[in-house]
Symmetry: C2
Subunit: 227 residues, 2 copies
């Protein structure tokens, strides 16, 4: 048995679990979003800025993925968001089984996510542009984020994650004047990999573009309810 | 055979190849540096700023690792640096066998790195804070870089790579006024993971701190010659 075959088996096992999550979320009509980026692109900052306003209309929860620490879940809890941390140790992505283990269970106490009580579940994946690309978590929409400090050629360098994504969010546009980064070139690079990508430019820090992202997420929630 | 055993075997095979690289570089007295960071922290920008001046005194070459594109090797070649690109496809790290394949071979033409002609070989790894942490490439020094736009808690979130590193370079300090980032806290977080870490704060863009990094690399080259 060689390594490729093993990876295929691991992936297909993941796909089976992801299909179960997707089926369960279809029954409960809970929209599920998988949010990925490099380390430090601003995934948690976006959720901090966005979710308190979405929470006034929708019931939501967040699963936070990191190798170590509860930092990100703690940051969201301080904003009144229901957040649960998964620590992967040395793994560079979340797997569907780690998400499924949190759904509908009652142990450990206080750590369960009951999909039937939620309109929206956001899964903030490990900060990584490679590994999360190939692991379906049962999501309705796959978001990939970059920040303008990371270089406008990143979509060409990490094409798989951009190819698999539904939305491309370009963050930290408030820093654009201080770095060598062409927003137009970056978006063109992303669309060259995946012409179906919907794109948005934002600053989680200043709030620019957040109305648009909030509307995108609301549309996903509404579509899920209508199914 | 479970997955952990397979990973151990893959790693130990990598260690055998890395040991061969280390032995060969010891014979030729070539210093080897493995440079890692998140995507977009500024590894290539650092090399663009640093290597033209080091090249006036030392014979050097760079191996560039990316999933796709020759962009980074092209950027260095434009500065007159001898750079060879490895494209890993979907792999999130370089392996020692990929480096060894470039050493001392004559095929493909123009793609060989002859260690006996070099004082310094820098390997710019894939942009990833997880996977490269566990793959020895036969280096004398393992550098991990962050930029101030990525959040000061990253060493706590990605401890393995900081634990295995010898040097921690904090880049983009010119952007510090525009982001919420404590340089002191970040360095304290890194030292909490690895008290042996040597640290430096730089801006590849403005040139701040580059004298210090140049001296660090020169010391590594001189120590290798003396062995």
């Amino acid at each position: 048995m060689n390594r490729i075959e093993i990876n295929e088996k691991v992936l297909s096992k993941n796909d089976i679990v992801a299909a179960r999550i997707r089926e369960k979320a279809a029954q409960t009509r809970t929209a599920v979003i998988n949010l990925t980026s490099s380390p430090g692109s601003g995934k948690t900052s976006l959720l901090e800025a966005l979710l308190p306003r979405l929470q006034t209309k929708y019931r939501l929860a967040v699963i936070e993925g990191d190798l170590r620490t509860e930092n990100d879940a703690d940051r969201l809890r301080q904003r009144g968001i229901n957040a649960i941390q998964i620590q992967t140790g040395d793994a560079c992505h979340l797997e569907a089984a780690q998400v499924e283990a949190l759904l509908g269970t009652t142990e450990p106490a206080g750590c369960a996510i009951e999909l039937e009580t939620l309109d929206l579940l956001i899964i903030e994946n490990i900060g990584n542009l490679v590994c999360p690309a190939s692991y379906d978590l049962g999501e309705d929409a796959f978001f990939v984020m970059l920040s303008v400090t990371e270089g406008d050629d990143k979509p060409a360098k990490y094409p798989t994650i951009f190819f698999n994504a539904d939305y491309f969010i370009l963050n930290k546009i408030d820093l654009a004047p201080y770095v060598d980064f062409s927003i137009e070139k970056c978006i063109a690079n992303a669309l060259a990999v995946n012409a179906r990508l919907k794109t948005a430019t934002i600053s989680a820090r200043t709030g620019a573009g957040l109305d648009e992202i909030a509307q995108v997420i609301e549309d996903i929630i509404v579509a899920k309810k209508a199914n």
